[in-house]
């Protein structure tokens, strides 16, 4: 009797991709069908948005600060210390703001969604919901996806701003840069494409975070151990997918805006 079957493994992976795609598709199509769960969406927006604010602010601030600190010595060698604001601004808005926010929220909310829905799955609450004529994808998945997409968009903006402030604190207090110079270079260096790139990514990352969290939660089996496994897998999968999709999105948008 074979211990490991390659074809079975391939089938399982294919099935998982298919199930995930169907769930992700339904989470979007549900937006255009009744019933819509506004109260659940608001609750999720609060959990994802307000709940994640402290870690996003802390991450953004110290990332911006360390970025200014690390790059200052190199820029000083070329006599371009005045470009610190530009460097922090472009790095935060185009890349670090959305990606770090995505990773933080993935660690916090993908796991939360997977464990919550996973617990409901293994205690038959999802079956009970279906048995009472309620569509779990409408009631549980779509509010989480919508809330994550919208909230990540705003969280990234906050992260960018706080990151720029962190960079400014270092530039002004440690490097002795002029405040006006910092903010002017930071602002003037941003092009339309940079802002679009910085605001497109979080929406995609929010979608990944919520759909992955919900998918692993709804696929959980095997009691509490299964819920734990689903939670870990959700965080890993969401984080990896964020980084991979970031690369392709960057390439795509760079091509689009002709960088």
């Amino acid at each position: 009797m074979p211990i490991f079957s390659l074809s079975d493994f391939a089938k399982e992976q294919l099935q998982a991709v298919q199930d995930y795609s169907l769930l992700a598709g339904r989470s979007v199509s549900n937006l255009f069908a009744q019933p819509r769960y506004f109260a659940d969406t608001l609750l999720q927006a609060d959990l994802v948005g307000v709940g994640s604010l402290p870690i996003v602010v802390l991450t953004g601030f110290f990332t911006g600060a360390v970025l200014a600190l690390q790059t200052s010595s190199t820029l000083q060698q070329f006599g371009s210390l005045s470009l610190t604001g530009q460097l922090v601004s472009l790095s935060m808005v185009r890349e670090l703001g959305p990606v770090l926010t995505g990773l933080m929220v993935a660690g916090r909310n993908s796991s939360g969604m997977a464990s919550e829905l996973g617990s409901m799955k293994v205690t038959e609450q999802i079956d009970a919901m279906r048995a009472m004529g309620v569509d779990p994808s409408k009631k549980l998945v779509t509010p989480r996806v919508f809330a994550a997409v919208v909230m990540l968009f705003f969280l990234s903006i906050i992260s960018d701003l706080v990151g720029l402030t962190g960079g400014f604190m270092i530039s002004y207090l440690l490097l002795g840069l002029d405040a006006n110079q910092y903010w002017t270079t930071a602002y003037q260096s941003l092009r339309f494409g940079d802002v679009v790139m910085g605001l497109t990514k979080p929406a995609i990352f929010g979608f990944i975070i919520a759909t992955i969290g919900c998918y692993y939660g709804l696929s959980a089996k095997g009691g509490t151990q299964g819920v734990g496994r689903a939670t870990t897998q959700a965080v890993v999968a969401a984080s990896v997918l964020i980084l991979v999709s970031d690369f392709f999105l960057t390439r795509l948008l760079m091509g689009f805006f002709q960088y």
Binding site: M120, T123, E124, Q125, D127, A128, R130, A131, M132, G133
Partner: protein, 280 residues
């Protein structure tokens, strides 16, 4: 002892609607890693209660999930409330399921909602909030299971038996045409089990709701087949009148196949060695 208050004022009798079985399985088969159900066929006439029995892993709970459309069979046909559900999409099944109440093995109450929100879950889905009318219906359903005082408690604050009773209240609040009970007394002490069985008998005899009940406990099954609910005395009594039809039959599964279907006396007269051993 459960009270006789009607859970809902406008209860409708479930015997209407012709002689066709309210649930019919035709040659149903389903397999996971191995075949679980093979060629299962039976019908549940309107107003009747059918008790599904068999050893663990023989597919009893699976039959309930198939009847509810939570799972699709590999082959065969399942007809519920006159509709063939095997070919229906999930969205279509949601409407059908509103006519069916299910009591889950471990209650499956929503642990983040209180008892009132759990019991009224279906109604809140339609109205969006707990209105005064819904609150009254919840109280009536809870009165039926003698748990009116738990309305604002959370499932974690209830005992196992109380959770099952809340599960029953949740299942009956919308006056479903069919009730599915998945081991409603599993893991409970004999006294609490008897309370649950009395509620099921009460539901059967007062409202004649068609029911499928899975149980491992022979004692519960035979109590149901030999007792009736007396409205005047407000309690379950042994049936001494042989002319009284309790509308309760048995179905026994073995290795995913139906090996017996009939009444309690027929079951007791059966000479099949497996059934004799199962009953002993």
């Amino acid at each position: 002892m459960p009270g006789t208050d009607l859970p809902v004022a406008e209860r409708k009798p479930s015997l209407s609607g012709g002689a066709a079985p309210i649930i019919r399985f035709d040659d149903v088969a389903i397999a996971f890693d191995h075949p679980v159900l093979e060629g299962v066929s039976f019908g549940l006439p309107r107003g009747e209660t059918k008790i599904l029995m068999g050893v663990s892993g023989t597919g009893k709970t699976l039959i309930l999930k198939l009847a509810l459309g939570l799972l699709k069979p590999d082959s065969g046909k399942i007809i519920v409330c006159g509709e063939e559900i095997t070919s229906m999409r999930e969205e279509q099944l949601f409407d059908l399921r509103r006519n069916i109440g299910m009591v889950f093995q471990e209650s499956a109450l929503f642990d983040s909602l209180n008892v009132e929100e759990n019991v009224a879950y279906r109604l809140i889905e339609e109205t969006g909030d707990v209105t005064e009318e819904i609150h009254q219906r919840v109280l009536e359903a809870l009165r039926f299971v003698e748990l009116e005082h738990t309305v604002f408690l959370f499932p974690s604050e209830l005992s196992g038996g109380m959770r099952r009773r809340v599960g029953i209240a949740r299942a009956i609040i919308t006056n479903p045409e069919v009730l599915l009970y998945d081991s409603p007394t599993g893991g409970l002490d004999p006294v609490t089990s008897n309370t649950i069985i009395e509620l099921i008998v009460k539901q059967r005899d007062l409202y004649r709701t068609s029911s499928l009940m899975v149980t491992h406990r022979l004692q519960d099954a035979f109590t149901m087949a030999s007792h009736y609910f007396d409205r005047e005395q407000n309690k379950m009594l042994p049936n001494t009148d042989s002319s009284r039809d309790l509308h309760t039959t048995f179905l026994i599964l073995r290795d995913g196949k139906v090996i017996f279907e009939g009444t309690a006396p027929e079951l007791l007269r059966n000479h099949d060695p497996y059934i004799r051993e199962y009953l002993s």
